[in-house]
C-alpha cells in the first residue's frame, strides 16, 4: 500500500511536469508570447485585450 502511494505521488509530480510543458508549448503555438514565462505580464495582458475591430468609419 505504502509503495502504491509513493508511486502515485511520483506519477502525479511527473504528470504535472509533463502537463506544464505541454501547456507551455501550446501557449506558444497560439501566439501566447512569453509563454515560457507563464505569468500575467503586461505584454500578455495587451495581447489578450487586443480585439480585432473593423473600421467603423
Amino acid at each position: 500500500m505504502k509503495l502504491l502511494v509513493n508511486l502515485l505521488i511520483i506519477a502525479a509530480i511527473i504528470g504535472l511536469a509533463v502537463w506544464v510543458i505541454i501547456r507551455t508549448f501550446k501557449k506558444v503555438k497560439t501566439g501566447g508570447k512569453c509563454a515560457a514565462c507563464d505569468y500575467d505580464c503586461e505584454l500578455k495582458q495587451l495581447k489578450n485585450r487586443q480585439t480585432r475591430q473593423h473600421l467603423t468609419l
Binding site: N6, A17, V18, A36, C37, L46, L57
Partner: protein
C-alpha cells in the same frame, strides 16, 4: 463603458499618469518607446476605462507604434482625449495637439512635467491657451502626483467636457479644398461633418494611414483630388499654418519669471553625452551595476539563500520524507530533483533583482535616453541607429520583450536585423548559469567576467548585424529621435515597481517551466536502460551526454552533465542551472561549484559561458521571432545561425585561450 484615451508625444509621462489615474501598474521607462501597444486600465473609484496609447509625434504614422494611435482614432471614438504634453517642449508637442483637436472629440490638454518648466523660470497663461485651443488646459506633475486629483475629477465627470473642434485659418485655396472635400464626404458617405473635415485635412496632409483607408473605402471626393492636393503642396501649407499658429500662441501665452535653478541637466549632459567620454561612462556605469550585483550585494545574499535552501530546507524535507515512509525514488525526486533544481535557480534571485533594480534606477533617473544617444554613433557604424539600442537594452531583461519593442523601428529590414540579433543580448535567464560558473572558476573577478560576457554578446550582435546589413541589402534607415528628459532623483516606488515588474517572471518561472524542466532532467538522470539508477552515470542523460562529447570536445566541454544540461536550455535558460544541480545530485550551490572546478579548466568554463550566451534561443523567443517576422524561415535561420556562431566563438575562445593560459 466610457473610455478616455491618453495621447501625446513620446516621453511626456503618459504611462506615469496612467499609473497614477488607474489601479494598475504599467512599466514606466524614462525613455522613448516604452509603450509599444496600448494599455487599458480603469480610473480609480470609477467605471471609466483609461487607454494609454504609444507616444507619437504626429498622426501621420512613421512607425508601427505611431500607427496604433491613428488606427485607434479611426476605429474608436473615446468619450474624452487627454492630450499629454511636456510643458517644456510645448512648441513641438502642440503639432500633435492640433491634429487631435481637429478630430472634434472632447479633449483636455495636460501640461505635464510643469515643475521642470517652472524651474526654467517660465510659465504659461493657461486661460489663454484654453481660449485659443478651445479645450480645457490643466497643469500636472505626474511624478510628484501634483494636479492628479483635479484631473481625476475632470475625467470622472467627463460628460461636462464639451467638444470644440479646432478650426485653424488655413490659406484660402486650402480652406476651399478642405470644405469641398468634407462637404462631399458628408453628402455622399454620410460622415458627420467634424469627422469629414478631419479626414479631409489628414488626407491632404499626406497621412499614409488615411490615404490607405481612402483607397480601401473608395472615398472618391478625396481620391479624385489627390494629385491636385500634392501638386499645390498643401501638406507644406498645413504645416506652415500650424507652426505659425503655435508660435503666435506660445508667444502670447508665455509668462517669464525668475529661473529657480541653473540648468543642472545641461551641465551633466555636457559630460555624459560627450562624444569621447560618453561611451566609457556608459561602460563604467554598467560595470558598476555588475559589481553591485555579483560582488558587493547580490552574491553574499545569494550565498545565504543557497545555504538556507540546501541545508535546513533540504535536510528537513528529507527527514520528513523518511519519517513518512517515502521510498528512495520519491525522496530523490523531491530532494535531489525539485528542491535542488528549482531551489538552485531561486538562490540567484538576489543577483537578478539587484541588477534589475540598477536598470530601473538608470531608467528613472533619465540616463537611459542618454545611453541611447551615446551609442547612436556606434550603432550608425554598423548600419543601425540608436533606435535599435532601446529594444536591445530591453532584451537584456527578456529577449521576447526586446523583440516586441523592435516594433518601434519603422524600416522592415532594420527591424528584422534587430530581431535576429536580439538573442545575442544576454537575457536575465542566463544569469544563474553565469553566477554559478563565475563563482566556481573566477571567484575574485565575478563582476568582470559577467560584464565581459555581456560585452561579448553586444560585440557579436553588432558584428552579425553588420553582416546581415550586407546580406539583406539594407539601404533604408529609420529616423532616430530621442527625447532627453530632465534628470530626476529616482523615486523608490518606481524603482521597486520596475524591479518587481522585470523580476517577478523569474519567480513564476521557477514554479512552472523550471519545475517541469527539472523533473524532466531528473527522469533522464535517474532512469537508464535498466530502470531506476542511483548512479547517474548509468542514466539516459549520461548516454546522451557521452554520445555528444566528440562534438563538444573542441570547445572544451567534455562532461556529459554539462552537455545534457545545455539541451534543456531551449525550454528556458534557467533550466541549464537546475539541470546541473540535478545531474550532480546536489542541492548545494557550494558543492556543485566544488564539483565543477574539478572537471573543467577556467578557459573551458569561459568558452562554455560564451556558448550558453550565443547558442539556440529559448522556444519563447523563437515563437516571438515567428510572430513578429511571420515566417518559420527566420525561426530556422535563427536556430542554425546562432548555433554556428556560438560554436565558432566558443571554439576560438577555447583554442586560443588554451594556448595562452
Amino acid at each position: 463603458m466610457p473610455s478616455v484615451a491618453l495621447i501625446g508625444n513620446p516621453n511626456t509621462g503618459k504611462t506615469t499618469l496612467f499609473n497614477s489615474l488607474t489601479n494598475k501598474y504599467a512599466y514606466v521607462g524614462n525613455w522613448t518607446g516604452v509603450t509599444v501597444e496600448k494599455k487599458v486600465g480603469t480610473l480609480k473609484d470609477s467605471a471609466v476605462q483609461i487607454v494609454d496609447l504609444p507616444g507619437a509625434y504626429s498622426l501621420n504614422p512613421l512607425t508601427k507604434d505611431e500607427a496604433v494611435v491613428t488606427t485607434y482614432l479611426l476605429h474608436n471614438r473615446p468619450d474624452l482625449i487627454l492630450n499629454i504634453t511636456n510643458a517644456s517642449q510645448l512648441k513641438r508637442n502642440l503639432l500633435l495637439t492640433i491634429q487631435v483637436l481637429e478630430r472634434g472629440i472632447p479633449a483636455i490638454l495636460i501640461l505635464n512635467m510643469i515643475d521642470d518648466l517652472k524651474r526654467s523660470g517660465r510659465s504659461y497663461n493657461l486661460d489663454l491657451l484654453s481660449e485659443r485651443l478651445g479645450c480645457k488646459v490643466l497643469a500636472t506633475n505626474a511624478r510628484g502626483h501634483r494636479g492628479i486629483k483635479e484631473l481625476h475629477d475632470q475625467i470622472a465627470n467627463y460628460q461636462r467636457v464639451t467638444a470644440h473642434p479646432l478650426q485653424l485659418t488655413y490659406p484660402p485655396m486650402l480652406q476651399q479644398a478642405i470644405r469641398q472635400a468634407s462637404e462631399a464626404l458628408t453628402a455622399d458617405f454620410e460622415f458627420e461633418p467634424t469627422l469629414a473635415r478631419w479626414l479631409a485635412i489628414q488626407f491632404i496632409d499626406q497621412n499614409k494611414a488615411i490615404r490607405k483607408i481612402a483607397r480601401q473605402r473608395k472615398l472618391t471626393p478625396l481620391l479624385s483630388q489627390e494629385k491636385y492636393y500634392d501638386a499645390q503642396h498643401f501638406a507644406d501649407k498645413i504645416y506652415d499654418t500650424r507652426l505659425a499658429f503655435i508660435e503666435k500662441l506660445l508667444k502670447d501665452a508665455t509668462e517669464t519669471g525668475q529661473s529657480q535653478q541653473p540648468q543642472l541637466t545641461s551641465k551633466i549632459d555636457k559630460v555624459v553625452t560627450n562624444p569621447i567620454l560618453g561611451l566609457p561612462i556608459f561602460a563604467g556605469i554598467f560595470f558598476l551595476m555588475f559589481k553591485l550585483s555579483f560582488d558587493w550585494v547580490g552574491t553574499p545574499l545569494s550565498d545565504l539563500l543557497d545555504w538556507f535552501l540546501s541545508v535546513p530546507v533540504s535536510n528537513t524535507v528529507n527527514h520528513l520524507l523518511i519519517q513518512a515512509g517515502a521510498i528512495p525514488a520519491l525522496r530523490s525526486l523531491i530532494v535531489n530533483g525539485i528542491i535542488a533544481g528549482v531551489g538552485g535557480v531561486l538562490a540567484f534571485i538576489p543577483q537578478i533583482f539587484t541588477l534589475f533594480a540598477c536598470i530601473s534606477l538608470l531608467e528613472d533617473s533619465g540616463y537611459m535616453a542618454r545611453a541611447a544617444l551615446v551609442t547612436d554613433r556606434l550603432m550608425q557604424m554598423i548600419g543601425l541607429n540608436g533606435k535599435s539600442f532601446i529594444p536591445l537594452i530591453i532584451g537584456f531583461g527578456c529577449n521576447v520583450t526586446g523583440i516586441m519593442a523592435a516594433r518601434t523601428i519603422e524600416q522592415p529590414k532594420e527591424r528584422l536585423v534587430t530581431t535576429l540579433i536580439m538573442p545575442f543580448m544576454s537575457c536575465s535567464a542566463r544569469l544563474p548559469i553565469y553566477s554559478l560558473v563565475v563563482a566556481a572558476f573566477f571567484p575574485h573577478h565575478q563582476a568582470l567576467i559577467v560584464f565581459s560576457i555581456y560585452f561579448l554578446g553586444v560585440v557579436v550582435a553588432l558584428l552579425v548585424a553588420k553582416l546581415y546589413q550586407v546580406l539583406f541589402h539594407v539601404k533604408d534607415r529609420s529616423v532616430f529621435i530621442v527625447e532627453l528628459p530632465e534628470y530626476h532623483l529616482p523615486r523608490l516606488d518606481i524603482i521597486w515597481h520596475g524591479t518587481w515588474d522585470k523580476g517577478k517572471g523569474f519567480i513564476k518561472k521557477a514554479g512552472t517551466i523550471i519545475f517541469a524542466g527539472t523533473v524532466l532532467i531528473w527522469l533522464l538522470s535517474s532512469f537508464g536502460p535498466h530502470g531506476f539508477v542511483t548512479d547517474s552515470t548509468a542514466s539516459y542523460a549520461a548516454s546522451l551526454g557521452h554520445a555528444l562529447v566528440p562534438m563538444f570536445k573542441p570547445i572544451g566541454i567534455v562532461q556529459w552533465q554539462a552537455i545534457s544540461a545545455l539541451f534543456t536550455g531551449v525550454l528556458a535558460k534557467e533550466v541549464i542551472t537546475s539541470s546541473m544541480m540535478v545531474m550532480f545530485h546536489t542541492s548545494s550551490k557550494a558543492v556543485l561549484i566544488a564539483a565543477l572546478g574539478q572537471f573543467m579548466s577556467p578557459v573551458a568554463a569561459y568558452a562554455m559561458l560564451a556558448f550558453v550566451l550565443l547558442y539556440i534561443p529559448c522556444f519563447a523567443t523563437l515563437a516571438t521571432i515567428k510572430e513578429e517576422t511571420g515566417s518559420y524561415k527566420w525561426v530556422f535561420f535563427s536556430v542554425v545561425s546562432s548555433f554556428i556562431i556560438a560554436y565558432i566563438t566558443a571554439f576560438i575562445l577555447f583554442q586560443v585561450g588554451s594556448l595562452i593560459f
